[in-house]
Amino acid sequence: MPHARSLLRVAQRLTPEAEDLVQEAMLLAWRSFHQLQTGSNARAWLFRIMFNAFYARGRKARLATVPLDRQDVAADQNPGTRAEVAQALGQLADDHRTVLLLAVVEGFTCQEIAGILDVPMGTVMSRLSRARDAMRNRLAPKCAAGGAS
């Protein structure tokens, strides 16, 4: 089913009710599929539906971090790296983590993210910049802070 895995990947970092949220989003998308315009970005449209559903739930269920499956960590060649990144992501503010995941992991542009989250593009860029700074500080010294003027 298109994009279910991508939606779930992000939803798991929004709420412990991730599967319910993705199910709701996909059913909403199914019902309003006729509204999707030819040539429009269907993936961004699906994410927008999911975030609208998430906000409609009133963010009642926050999730600080997603625990890693121990078996998966053991099988990873760099278990420390993956666990560190997961922990650092979990410590970010929700809005910052969301923008970072959409941009860096899901590959959306800042303009697309602004549409998905219904916020100004400047807000997206600001959150993205702060999220990257926070991740870099938390993952130091492997990603040492830069010294550009």
Partner: protein
């Protein structure tokens, strides 16, 4: 462009959102400023580290997908279920027979590419604008009108990019039809018109044909057997 201005738009540069002139100015500054060049390199490394860590975690969406399918599928009477089982067994035997035939390597590669790029939705630099996709097609020697002709078969274009299948460059187009994503791989025709043939590869069906203008491979989820029907509809338009 100053260091401050450069860093302010670094996110837009990384996501490919600067126009050609701005991107050239950005790169010119990096060439002259080791501090900003180093900063961008660290940002790129950080992004790669985050991406690898998150994409490396398994995500099992099978449960959600099953529940969604159940919710959108009308309930059936018991005798329809029996009939469906008989038809299913017949279809399964056909698939089993087909599975014994080695599929063309381009088809196997197309199914693999569809699964990785579309089903798993690995982030890639797709083009969503139909005009940009048509221009991309034209650069591959494919008549740009082919994209809109395919859409006339009832498919909605989602995006497209160039990929390589078994050593050959193809235009990989992703369409929506009946709530499902379908990949169509196109390249300039070389061998002349042929009928539509279908092979099974992994969880997908691949239907392929050639017209006087293009070679086309259509990849869709196997259980729906959409690939062949879509390929035949598309073949009529091309």
């Amino acid at each position: 462009m100053t260091c401050k201005e450069t860093l302010a738009v670094s996110s837009l540069y990384l996501s490919g959102e600067l126009d050609a002139e701005q991107a050239a100015e950005f790169r010119a500054h990096l060439g002259a400023c080791p501090a900003c060049a180093g900063e961008l390199e660290r940002l790129t490394e950080l992004d790669a580290r985050i991406r690898d860590a998150v994409l490396g975690e398994p995500v099992d969406s099978a449960g959600v997908e099953t529940r969604v399918r159940q919710a959108i599928t009308p309930r059936r009477s018991w005798w329809i279920g029996v009939a469906a089982a008989i038809v299913g067994a017949a279809v399964l035997s056909v698939y089993t027979y087909r599975a014994a035939q080695p599929p063309p390597r381009e088809c196997t590669a197309a199914a693999t590419d569809h699964h990785r790029e579309v089903v798993d939705a690995r982030p890639r630099n797709w083009l969503s604008d139909p005009a940009a996709v048509e221009a991309l097609a034209a650069r591959q020697g494919i008549d740009g009108a082919a994209v809109s002709q395919i859409m006339s078969a009832g498919l909605r274009l989602e995006h497209g990019k160039i990929c390589r299948l078994d050593g050959n460059l193809f235009l990989h187009l992703v369409f929506w039809r009946d709530g499902q994503q379908v990949s169509i791989f196109l390249r300039k025709g070389a061998e002349g018109p042929s009928d539509t043939r279908t092979v099974h590869s992994g969880a997908e069906d691949v239907a392929y044909f050639e017209t006087s203008r293009v070679k086309a491979l259509v990849v869709a989820d196997a259980p729906s057997n959409h690939a062949r029907a879509i390929a035949q509809a598309v073949q009529k338009t091309l």
